[in-house]
């Protein structure tokens, strides 16, 4: 195993060296670094050209300049040497500074989208696999491919037009018209129609329920002025908590495991007490406090499950712990919503909260919650855009993988020995279906830092992609090489990690040195 890893690392270094040489030459040959001065009519044009030539050392041939760069970059590989010199950009800024900043922006931009795409994509894939060739399956497949094939710049512009500008206009006069309510109801009805497994009658009933519920919800939101003063209220939190308790129990233990259900419900009760007790404390919130509270909540949930005891303690602990986490999340959301009016009416926001550009409102002052809402309103649209497009691959992969697993002999065996369908799906099929996805996820995380060039440009995020494009346009090799180095190293590392994870997850695969 160790020999294998070492061998892989050595090859990785060699590949990086060769590739970086190539990228350097390509960048140097990609354009004319003096372009901006060519059509200049300034009296000191020649002097400016000389300055630029000296700055970029253009009189030295590109292959030799590469070794100059390599000499500095080699310092980065020696840990703690503190002599990492990736050079400077044309504007005289250290590339290491540029990279650190760009990476921060990119991670901020793509993290939420990637996590959501993974969770939702896998869920959709599993569900559609269980309902193969149903209306739901076709519907989801159709939508996934539709989004997958949309150009992201177009999606982004549309999202800005309707999701930001249109929605902000709506917020100034938040009244849902009757026709809008009808359309929302019909869409909800249609989605619910697809959900039941079979039987036209059941499907129609589901559609009717969906329609009525959606219209009622819209009506309530409209009447109560919810868009301007949103919030769940204690009742809403309790209802959502109970729903979460049931859902989690169904997935982890099954409703027949009463102890698990009761521990989850007890956790919801404790959560409701905490909901009231904790509000004054939340006024002083910091990110650290939220993390501590989150961990505390999960621990309490697990403790409840443990104390309930019973035949399979683990199941109760899982159910209660997960429920506690979700409950905490709902309370957190509720708290953010409580701050919404203040954020909305802040003079810097001016009643137009959903943003089309950047990652924060300049000079916005406010507490933890206001800052959080600001990030939310800025990240909402790019996250949706990125997520819609990457949903497809995850849902397709997980569907295929799940279908394959469900046809395996051991699934038939599991059914034959009388296990419930829930146990078969959740314990035997689902986990194994995730194994091939591990590779995909590892790759995606590696690619994530590389930046989303188009999305960054449209939403004015100055992340890795933007850094790369700008530097390439200016024929400025140092930042290009910096971006390449980071993305290259990450791609190689995660490639290796993916292989190793695979062998850990699947005992049939062995790493051979």
């Amino acid at each position: 195993m160790v020999t294998y890893i070492v061998r892989r690392l050595v090859t990785a270094v060699l590949i990086l060296l060769a590739a970086s040489f190539l990228v350097y030459l390509l960048t140097a040959a990609s354009g004319d670094p003096l372009q901006q001065y060519r059509q200049s009519s300034l009296p000191n044009k020649e002097q400016l050209i000389q300055q630029r030539i000296q700055l970029l050392n253009l009189n030295t041939p590109a292959p030799l300049r590469y070794f100059d760069w390599l000499g500095g970059a080699a310092g980065c590989l020696i840990p703690f040497a503190a002599e990492c010199d990736l050079g400077k950009s044309i504007q005289g800024i250290e590339v290491t500074t540029l990279l650190a900043r760009a990476m921060g922006q990119t991670i901020q931009l793509v993290t939420a989208a990637t996590i959501l795409a993974i969770i939702i994509g896998i869920a959709l894939g599993i569900i559609t696999a269980l309902r193969q060739y149903s209306g739901l399956d076709y519907g989801v497949t159709f939508m996934a491919f539709l989004f997958f094939s949309l150009p992201i710049f177009w999606v982004a512009v549309l999202l800005k037009e309707y999701g930001a500008i249109g929605f902000n206009n709506f917020l100034n006069q938040p009244n849902i018209g009757l026709s809008a309510m009808g359309i929302i109801g019909l869409v909800a009805g249609f989605i619910c129609y697809l959900v039941p497994k079979s039987g036209v009658k059941r499907k129609l009933i589901a559609a009717a329920i969906g329609f009525v519920a959606a219209v009622a919800l819209c009506w309530y939101l409209d009447i109560s002025g919810w868009f301007l003063t949103p919030g769940f209220g204690a009742i809403g939190v309790a209802l959502m908590g109970v729903a979460a308790a049931y859902l989690v129990t169904v997935l982890t233990a099954g409703l027949r495991n009463r102890k698990a259900l009761y521990s989850a419900l007890i956790t919801v009760g404790l959560g409701m007490i905490a909901y009231f007790a904790i509000q004054p404390l939340l006024d002083l919130a910091t990110i650290l406090m939220i993390i501590i509270l989150g961990v505390g909540a999960v621990l309490v949930g697990v403790a409840v499950g443990y104390l309930m005891g019973g035949f399979d303690r683990r199941q109760s602990m899982n159910a209660a712990g997960l429920t506690a986490f979700l409950m905490g999340f709902v309370i957190l959301l509720d708290r953010y919503m409580q701050e919404w009016p203040e954020y909305f009416n802040n003079s810097r926001i001016g009643g137009r909260p959903i943003a089309t550009i950047g990652s924060s409102t300049p000079n916005l002052e406010g507490n933890f919650w206001i800052a959080g809402l600001d990030i939310f309103t800025h990240l909402l649209l790019p996250t949706i855009a990125l997520m819609l497009i990457s949903l497809a691959s995850y849902s397709r992969y997980s569907r295929a993988s799940m279908l394959e697993i469900m046809n395996q002999d051991y699934i038939r065996t599991a059914r034959a020995k009388g296990l419930t369908e829930r146990t078969v799906v959740m314990r035997h099929a689902f986990r194994n279906a995730l194994i091939p996805l591990a590779t995909l996820v590892a790759f995606d995380i590696g690619a994530l830092i590389g930046g989303a060039i188009i999305t960054e440009a449209v939403f004015a995020f100055s992340g890795m992609g933007q850094l790369f494009v700008d530097a390439l346009n200016a024929v400025d090799p140092n930042p290009v090489m910096g971006v390449f180095l980071i993305t290259g190293i990450l791609a190689m590392t995660f490639n290796l990690v993916a292989d190793l994870i695979y062998s850990v997850l699947d005992p049939r695969v062995r790493v051979k040195a």
């Binding site: 004319d32 060519r38 300034l42 009296p43 300049p362």
Partner: protein, 595 residues
């Protein structure tokens, strides 16, 4: 697992400490990542947000690395100067800040004086020391470097990497400092046409002195006064001056709000208050400022938005108040649909033109003129910039920018009226049956140039020219300008809108930007006289002579000045179009938020 009593106590204490530190103090905090605590825009303060394409990188926009438009914009807001350019391209003096006076014509002697009570935003007076430093930088007086043919320095040093031209102040000797300590007097060794824009105040000398490890501003002034002029034949090492120059060259480069507040010092109406790298920059009123018009806006925020369509949507969504997107028909159409916003269009100071090589197939002036007769200028304007400016006209002068007083005067006499319309018949007569092969070089990645080429080629072939497409990709055509291999080329010049030294740079015999080989005795004489003429009226006459000769010898034809768009929220007043690089900012002190 068992824990000892001590470790339990330590553990509890650690957890308690962690829990306590997790609480924010009641005075907000936590949020906001501006480097400096900002003042709130609430409470009647007016704030304007402007979109800019590039990110700010340096407080010194005159250094080799800091020479970017956005840095120049911040300098325009924070560094007052002796004069500024209006959108009528007229030079206006800032008499409340400082004055300058021509003491004598020959030798040309100029006295610059900063008014009493004018200070940097830290309270330090702006005085002769600051002017001395600016002179040292802008004159290149101390440089003693020798360069080889490849441009590498072989001996000596270039001290300040000044991005502007040293050709003006390079003619002056060390200035004399006035008795009041606020003025300096420069003497030119020969008259210099652009003396009025040759000198600017620049950066605070006391900050540069400190940054270079000198005791104070006086020490810097003494250093500059005592150092001998640089002599490339006999270079000397001057470590102290080198240190000063190094700090000036790179010390002001920063993308975060600097810990050294000296870098941000302002002598203008606004000062930089906070910077968030890659995102935004905030300027507030300079409390010391009272020498000039008082701005009506309390706070200016600059946000960086590279893409033009994103700028339009950000404007529509109220995230920015002023945008200057790349002008195109699409952008204009999308702006026209909005309500609650205003749009200004106008012509920028860059212009496209077609130049013919003096030599090769175009050696015969008849062939040149025949070709010029086939250039469909109106049609080119219609298919390119008319989408933005419907009533746009072709530019009729090589030398003068449209809208300037000289332009009107020149157009009357420069002979441009001969080329208003395409005249295939006349071209055929001039060609007299010849079918010359003409290779036209242009940037094939620029749609306007491709359009112009297509129209010209089509029209020229009607007259019997055999046109060869010499279009090159965006990264190649610039080098081909100097390298040659073409008979005609379509490209653009960018003009500053002020000054005359750019004229010989483009049309002088053998000068660096003269790609066509144009060399005309009369024109050259006029230009030689032009650069030593300080009288504006005389300057204009000489420029007209050059313009006329360009048309007479068949230099080629100017096509059009590029269009520009500015759009803003209609709660703002006082925004006016400006065609040069200062753009919309040129009159920022007149901006106002309507009540």
């Amino acid at each position: 697992m068992r824990f000892g009593r001590t470790s339990k106590a330590v553990g509890t204490a650690a957890i308690a400490a962690l829990a306590l530190s997790a609480c924010a103090s009641t005075e907000g905090g936590g949020g906001g990542d501006s480097t400096e605590g900002g003042s709130q825009a609430s409470g009647g303060n007016t704030s304007v947000t402007v979109a800019e394409v590039n990110q700010f990188t340096s407080f010194n926009s005159n250094s080799a690395t800091g020479n970017v438009d956005i840095n120049g914009t911040i300098e325009y807001l924070t560094q007052w100067d002796f004069n500024y350019l209006t959108n009528d391209l007229e030079l206006k003096r800032r008499e409340e800040f400082g004055t300058y006076k021509k003491l004598s014509e020959d030798p040309l002697k100029i006295k610059y004086t900063i008014n009493e009570g004018v200070v940097w935003s830290d309270g330090t007076p702006i005085d002769a020391g600051d002017l001395m430093l600016a002179w040292a930088v802008q004159s290149g007086h101390f440089d003693d470097a020798k360069t080889n043919d490849a441009g590498d320095v072989v001996s000596g040093t270039n001290y300040f990497s000044y991005a502007g031209s040293t050709s003006g102040l390079g003619l002056t000797d060390v200035p004399e400092i006035g008795d009041d300590g606020r003025s300096i007097t420069m003497t030119y060794s020969k008259p210099y046409a652009d003396w009025e824009i040759a000198f600017g105040v620049g950066l605070p000398a006391h900050v540069v002195a400190k940054g270079a490890g000198l005791k104070n501003e006086q020490a810097l002034t003494d250093l500059l006064l005592s150092a001998p002029e640089g002599d490339p034949e006999n270079p000397k090492k001057r470590p102290k001056l080198k240190k000063v120059a190094n700090f000036w060259n790179t010390g002001f480069d920063t993308t975060t709000f600097p810990s050294n507040k000296g870098l941000t010092l302002s002598s203008g109406p606004y000062m930089v208050e906070s910077m968030v790298p890659d995102r935004s920059m905030t300027l507030v009123r300079n409390p010391e400022y009272d020498w000039g018009p008082e701005p009506k806006i309390d706070e200016i925020v600059i946000r960086y938005i590279p893409e033009s369509p994103s700028q339009v949507q950000a404007l529509q969504n109220g995230e920015v108040d002023i945008i200057a997107p790349q002008a195109s028909g699409d952008i204009k159409a999308s702006l026209e649909q909005l309500s609650g916003f205003k749009m200004l269009t106008g012509q920028m100071l860059s212009f496209d033109h077609i130049d013919l090589k003096y030599g090769g197939v175009f050696k015969d002036v008849d062939v040149r003129k025949a070709f010029m007769n086939t250039i469909p200028r109106n049609q080119i304007v219609q298919s390119t910039i008319a989408q933005v400016i419907p009533d746009a006209k072709p530019r009729d002068s090589h030398v003068f920018d449209m809208g300037t007083p000289g332009y009107k005067a020149s157009v009357k006499v420069n002979g441009s009226e001969n080329w208003q319309e395409v005249d295939i018949q006349k071209a055929k007569e001039l060609l007299n049956g010849r079918t010359p092969k003409v290779k036209i070089m242009y940037n094939a990645d620029n749609p306007n140039r491709v359009d112009a080429y297509t129209l010209i080629a089509e029209s020229a072939e009607k007259a019997g020219f055999n046109v060869v497409d010499g279009g090159l990709p965006g990264n190649k055509w610039g080098a081909a300008l100097t390298a040659g291999g073409w008979d005609a080329t379509i490209f653009g010049w960018i003009s500053d809108g002020v000054g005359v030294t750019g004229v010989p740079q483009l049309y002088g015999c053998g000068s660096a930007s003269n790609f066509t080989g144009f060399c005309d005795e009369k024109a050259q004489q006029a230009m030689d006289e032009l650069i030593v003429t300080t009288d504006p009226q005389k300057q204009q006459e000489l420029k007209i002579t050059v313009d006329k000769r360009l048309f007479e010898t068949g230099y080629g034809l100017p096509l059009f000045q590029s269009p520009g768009i500015i759009a803003y929220n209609d709660k703002l007043k006082g925004i006016e179009f400006m065609g040069n690089q200062t753009g919309v900012w040129w009159n920022f002190w007149e901006w106002e938020v309507a009540k």
